[in-house]
Structures are given as C-alpha cells and as structure tokens.
Amino acid sequence: MQIVVFTRSTPDTAAKVEVAADGRVTWGDAALVVNPWDEYALEEAIVQAKNAGGKATVIALGPEMHNDALKHALAMGMDEAARVQDAALDPADSLSYATAAAAAAKKVDGVELVIFGKESIDVGSDQHAYQTARKLGWPMLSSVSKIVAVDFAAKTITVERLLEQGKQVVTSKLPAVLSVTKEINEPRYPSFIGIRKASKAVIPEWSLADLGVSAVAARTQVGRFMNLPAREGQVEMIAGTPEEMATKLVDRLLEEKVL
C-alpha cells in the first residue's frame, strides 16, 4: 500500500510578494518553502503509511525549484520523492497539471490514497486537486479535518470534513483523493538526521513519456500580474474615553452607511 502526496515550493508565507517593474512576481531574498498547506498532507501521509505498514511518496510537478519542497518532505519522513519535468507540461494550468498528476500517481505501485494540501498559495487555487481526482476517476474528499477510520484491506475510509455549515462525516471507497485542512494534525519539524539524509537524496525525474501520457494543451493563460491597489485614504485616529470613542466610531460608520 502506498500514499502519494503532491507538493510544490512556494515563497515563505512571511515574504513580501510584489510585482517588479519588469512585470515578474518577486519575493526578495525570502526562502522557498514547502507550500504551507502541504505540510498537513505530508504529516498525515507519514502517519497513515506507518500505521498501515505502507509507504509514503511525495511528487512535485514542474521545474527544479520544487526540489526544495521535495527535500523538506523527505526530511520530514516521506519514503520516496519524484519530480515530473517535461517541456510540454504547463503546471500552472490545472488541467495540464491534473492529467500529469493522475498519471504520476498511477505510476506509484499499490497507491490507495492521494493527499493534497487544501490549496497552493502561489497559484491561489485548489482546482488541480479536484481535477486530479477526476482524471484518476477516484472519489474526492475535500476539506478533511480528521481521518476517522481507514481500512486499506477492506478499501474503505471514513473522514470528517469541515464545510461552511458544519462538520460532515462521510465514508468512501478506496482508492480516493483527499485534501486536508489545518485541523487534521500538527506537522512535525524535520529532524537533523532527516535533513542530512534528504540533502543527499537524488530525486528521480519523470517525463510525460515515462508516465505514458501526452501533454494536454493549457486551457487557461496567465496574463500580467498586478500589485494590490493601495488602500485609499489615511487612517483617522479616534481618541477619548472608551465611551467617547464608541460614539464617534458609530457616527462615522453610520455616515458611511456600512452598518
């Protein structure tokens, strides 16, 4: 039995990301980190694979910058890593991504579970996870906050999902694709030994030909990037006793017709 996690490198969450004069997105000298949501997916895969006596494999799609995330995942305790690299692949387009990701997951022997983090912060989307599930033809369980029970022999999984209106408990057949939220676990920090081992790891590269798929033409194109519009106006400081502050603030909010 194997569990596959898909990850990618993204700029550090504390980085100031902006659009430079040449139109490119920059994040200064901030480090690349594993996409923050994926840490929960990696932790869950490590724990579930160990409990079931299986293996956990981490895969990234795209250029060499994603090796940073893969090495972090190996340092955390993932067993294997691989990167899909092909000139014909456009991992920024979710359909192109999902077609390659589904083929990569199927290349992993005995895969029963694919886990994604809730979202990729760089592309600002989670659509690639759902589309990978569809291309695999497997059920998708999104926003999972807890794996209640999993039985790889009987091929069933029961999870708790965090939805807008509350918590849902749902059972599905395996294999399945999950996306997990922050509530599911507390990701571990990589150990010193893990980091040393990961730094020496040679990460295999898979081409689309290795995966037995041909490239899917991207259906979407990204145009220019723009900085956020500056917030208009200056802050108005409201002073006085708490009661005076309250009165003045309510006056202002009523004037603005926002209450």
């Binding site: 923050p36 912060i121 760089d122 589309q131 998708m140 956020l228």
Partner: protein, 346 residues
C-alpha cells in the same frame, strides 16, 4: 440551447443567497454572449427554487430533485452537471466558489476538458469570446489577469461578495425543465453518515461585518474560575464568547480570529482569517487586539472599512485601517456594543 449556466448552491432545500451574486455575474456574461441565463439547481425543492430565481434574472432553470442529490455530494452532482454541459455546450458555467462550488466546477471542467478560472474578483469578455478575469495569487498578495479558452465552455468560480446580485424583479419566474440523474445510488462511492450543523453562527465568508480577535484577547481582566486547566485559554475563550461575540451579534456579523489566537487554542480554526485561514471581504472588519501580520492582512485587506482597536499605536494594522482606536479592547469593545445597541435600537 446555448446558454450561460449558473449553479445555485442549496442547503436543506433552500438556495444560498450568495447564488444571486453568481446570477449577477452570469447575467453580464449572458448579455455579452447574447444567450439566455439558465439556473441549475439540484436537490430537494429544486423546481420551486429554480422557478423563483426568475426574480434574479434566470430565464430558464434546469432542475433535478432525485434522492441521490438530496445532500450535496461531488460524484452525482458533477456527473449530472457534466452531462448538461456535454448536451448543451453552454458558453459558460458560473458558480460561487464556496468549497462545494469550487470542487463541482473543477470536476466538471476536468470531465469536459474545459478552461476553469477560480477565485474570480472581476470579469469581462474579450472580442474573441475568451473570458478574462482578475484573481488573487500568492495568498492574495498579488493580483493576476487570466484568460479562459473561447473554444469550449468556460467555467468560472467567483469569490464571494465580489459581484452584485441583479435587481430583484418581483414575481418573475424562470421556465423550469426537470432532468434525470446520471448516477444511481449503487454507483456512488461516498455515503454521508452524519452532519453536525453549526447553528446560529454567521458564515465568515458571507458575513457583511466581522469582529475579529487576536492574541490580546487573553488579556481578559476577568478571573478564571479555580480548577480550569489553563487560565489563559479560559480567559481568551471567555473574551471571544462574552466580549467579541456580543458585538458581532448586535451587528448581525460573524467572529473571526488571527492565526495566533487559533494556534493558541483560543477559538476553533473555522474562525481563522488570513493566509492559512479564510479570505474575507466584509463591509466592516473590526480587528480587536490584532497586530496585523502580513499573513493576516492577506486574508482581510479587501474589506471595505477596517477598524483597528489595539493598545499598541505602532501596530501595522493601523496602516490598513480607516479608523484607529488606541486603547484596551476590554474597555472599548463593550462600550461600542452598548453604543450600537442604543443607536441601532436593539
């Protein structure tokens, strides 16, 4: 039938109001493409809901009330939406990008190899028929223009509160067509065993007003009762329940929190606003004891009016705020609640 389809999310046999925003965006597209606007509604009461969406611009409604669609599940919903797309070749499929809306549109776009643009803040149609949108990337720190593919159906999932609902046309009715489901219960791999609803809570992403608390809520002057396992956590939880919640209640709003407050165990994760929580854009965002780290800003900076209440006059949140109040939230927030009760007549 070429059309623009708008999927209307329902819960317990009622349409979610945010669906009207999707009809607003759908109407822009339908007019531009010169095709009718069609609402798609699945689940209990779908026919009645679909007909009534005529008030918000739907000309037609395609509905299915089969029991396999009673509770939202991705497989039967996506299978049916995909079939509608294959049969009718609509110009576009639009929905609010709630957790259900995002996965449903993504699934159906994958099934039909169509373009999909999510978290859409604004949109237009180019002369070649491609839909061009603006959407946030890098956790909302940067905006990006992106373009769909005019060759097929273009799927668009909207950010909540980014589009206006059409003006209501009281009494107008959509023409309803009932369709059959695609999957039988035996063919559906997922079974829902329970649902625990959060009753009476306003959903953060829909809320017009949000009162949010940071780590400073633990400075609650109230004494924790003897014997509680952690006095700090008790104080913070008490502050969320008895200081911030009453302000949210009088405003009909929701309670949010910073990551620091969530990580410290003061309030459940569902309330977290920011880069690893929810992105919100209410009319008013009242930040209480929140310093305004860049990760928090990413989740709330598109709010219309930001009010910052903080002891530290140097806190970065004041750079975003329209109104700044320097002082103790435990004095200011109750005073604000009392004043609003008086002024709003509650």
């Amino acid at each position: 039938m070429s059309a623009v389809l708008v999927w209307i999310e329902t819960f317990k046999g009622q349409a979610l109001n945010a669906g009207r925003e999707a009809l607003g965006a759908g109407q822009l597209l339908a007019e531009r493409f010169g095709v009718p606007l069609t609402a798609v509604v699945f689940g209990p009461n779908a026919a009645a809901i679909g007909a009534e969406l005529g008030e918000f611009g739907a000309v037609n409604a395609v509905v299915c009330e089969d029991t396999t669609l009673s509770d939202y599940r991705l497989e039967p919903y996506a299978a049916l939406l995909t079939k509608l797309v294959q049969e009718h070749q609509p110009k576009a499929v639009v929905a609010i990008g709630s957790s259900r809306g995002r996965e449903l549109l993504a699934a159906s776009a994958a099934d039909t190899d169509s373009s999909l643009l999510t978290e859409v803040l604004s949109l237009s149609v180019r002369d070649d028929g491609a839909i061009q949108v603006v959407r946030p990337v890098y956790a909302g720190k940067v905006l990006s223009e992106a373009v769909g593919s005019a060759a097929g159906t273009q799927f668009v999932a909207l950010r909540g509160r980014a589009f206006q609902a059409p003006a209501a046309n009281a009494g107008a009715r959509a023409s309803v067509t009932t369709v059959a489901p695609v999957l039988s219960e035996d063919a559906i791999a997922t079974k829902i065993s329970s649902f625990e609803e959060e009753v009476g809570k306003v959903n953060l992403t829909d809320a017009a007003i949000i009162v949010s608390g940071g780590r400073a809520v633990a400075n609650n002057p109230k004494d924790a009762p003897a014997g509680v396992p952690d006095a700090t956590v008790w104080k913070a939880q008490d502050a969320f329940a008895n200081v911030l919640q009453p302000l949210a209640d009088v405003l009909g709003g929701a309670v949010g929190a910073s990551r620091a407050a969530v990580d410290a165990g003061y309030i459940p994760y569902a309330h977290q606003v920011g880069q690893t929580g929810k992105t919100v854009s209410p009319d008013v965002y009242i930040a209480c004891g929140i310093s305004g780290a860049i990760q928090h800003q990413a989740g709330m900076r598109s709010s219309r009016v930001i009010v910052a209440i903080n002891k530290d006059a140097e806190a970065p949140i004041f750079k975003l705020a329209r109104y700044g109040l320097v002082g103790d939230l435990f004095q200011i927030v109750p005073a604000l609640t009392a004043e609003l009760k008086k002024r709003l007549g509650k």
